[in-house]
Structures are given as structure tokens and as C-alpha cells.
């Protein structure tokens, strides 16, 4: 039954979080706590931290994650096709080829327009 499989997944998540939190709890119980301001400054290789950490960068990070989202969506259409294309004969293969070629155009466009450049 499908539900039992996913019961295991849920229990694994719960037990995993519990045991990881348990290890943190052990440290919270065991570890010494000597707290003074200098210790709590952020680590800047010794330099006193200045300015905001949220320095904003240019747009290339966004472009990478954008192209990733579009191609991640493409990959999910490949999964169901991959299982059944064997029984479906040629036209299923040709229809997927069209699908992949269209998205390959997208990749070529992103490539030429410099969306994949890191400069």
C-alpha cells in the first residue's frame, strides 16, 4: 500500500529531527557557557565587523536560479515519459524530441545572451 511507504518517510523525518535535536540538546546540557560580548561578535578574521552583511550582488545569482527552475520543470516531464516510452513506440520518442529541442533552444538563448556567464 502506498500510504505505508510514506508513513516510513514521515517517521524517518520525525526521528531524524529528534535525534539531531537530541545531539544539540546534549551539547546544550553538557557544554560550558561563558558568555562575554567579544566572543559573540561575528567572525571577520579578527577585523571588527562593519557595514551590513546583506551586501547585495548583481543579478547573475538570480539568472542561474531562474534557468535552474525552468530546466528543473523540464526534467520532471522527462520522468513519466522515461518509464512508459518503451511501450508507446516511435511517436512518443518523436514528441519528446520536439519537447527537448524546444528547450534546448532556451538553453542556447541563455548561453548566447550571457545568462550563464559568471563574469
Amino acid at each position: 500500500m502506498v500510504l505505508v511507504d510514506w508513513l516510513y518517510v514521515g517517521v524517518f523525518a520525525v526521528v531524524g529531527t529528534a535525534m539531531a535535536a537530541l545531539s544539540l540538546g546534549i551539547v546544550w546540557a553538557l557544554a560550558p557557557r561563558s558568555d562575554y560580548p567579544q566572543k559573540r561578535t561575528t567572525y571577520e578574521s579578527g577585523v571588527v565587523p562593519f557595514g551590513q552583511a546583506w551586501a547585495q550582488f548583481n543579478v547573475r545569482y538570480y539568472l542561474f536560479s531562474l534557468v535552474f527552475v525552468i530546466f528543473a520543470v523540464e526534467v520532471i516531464y522527462l520522468y513519466p515519459w522515461a518509464i512508459v516510452f518503451r511501450q508507446l513506440g516511435r511517436y512518443a520518442f518523436f514528441s519528446m524530441t520536439i519537447f527537448l529541442v524546444i528547450l534546448f533552444l532556451g538553453l542556447v538563448y541563455a548561453w548566447r545572451k550571457g545568462a550563464l556567464e559568471w563574469s
Binding site: 543579478v59 538570480y62 531562474l66 527552475v69 525552468i70 528543473a72 520543470v73 520532471i76
Partner: protein
């Protein structure tokens, strides 16, 4: 009490109204996009619930949910591109400050 269709519909109605609340009241454009994602998810729950309880023979509801997920991904991509270019030109992402048509 057996788990019926109505439970899922009520949950999706709650999710939808929470998403609508976010869209109506948030100032940050990205938060509005998150609200839209929540509303799309609520609609997806309904699609899949109807597919199980009302028309279980063909998987049309689930296929439609997959297409909705694809469109939500495209919408998030383009919407966030607009947010990025608005931020670059107007230095703000707060929608009530973006009120000039030509930047």
C-alpha cells in the same frame, strides 16, 4: 469520521484565503509572489482531491495539477525578473513606492 472530500476542500479554502490576505496586505513584492504561490497550491489541492473523489478513472486532475505547477514556476521566474529589474532601477521592492509608470 472518514476522511472525505470536504476536508480537503476546507483546507484548500483556508490556504486560498490566507494567500489572498498576503497578496492584499503585503508591501514587499516578493511577499505578494509568495501569496500567489500559496493560492496556486490551494487550487492544486482541490484539483487532486476532485480527481480522487469525483473522477478517479482518468488522472486528468493530477495532470492539470502538474501543468499548474509548471505555470507557477514560470510565473515565479518572470515575476521575480520584474522585481529584480524594478529593484535595480527604482532601488525599492515595496509596491506602494513603485507608482511611477516610466522609470
Amino acid at each position: 469520521m472518514q476522511l472525505g472530500l470536504v476536508h480537503f476542500l476546507i483546507l484548500s479554502a483556508m490556504l486560498f484565503s490566507l494567500g489572498l490576505y498576503a497578496v492584499l496586505t503585503r508591501r514587499n513584492a516578493v511577499a505578494i509572489l509568495m501569496g500567489i504561490e500559496l493560492m496556486l497550491n490551494a487550487a492544486n489541492i482541490n484539483l487532486v482531491a476532485f480527481n480522487k473523489y469525483v473522477a478517479p478513472d482518468a488522472l486528468n486532475g493530477q495532470i492539470f495539477a502538474l501543468v499548474v505547477i509548471t505555470l507557477a514556476a514560470c510565473e515565479a521566474g518572470v515575476g521575480l525578473a520584474l522585481v529584480m529589474s524594478a529593484y535595480r532601477n527604482l532601488e525599492t521592492v515595496h509596491v506602494d513606492e513603485i507608482n511611477v509608470m516610466k522609470w
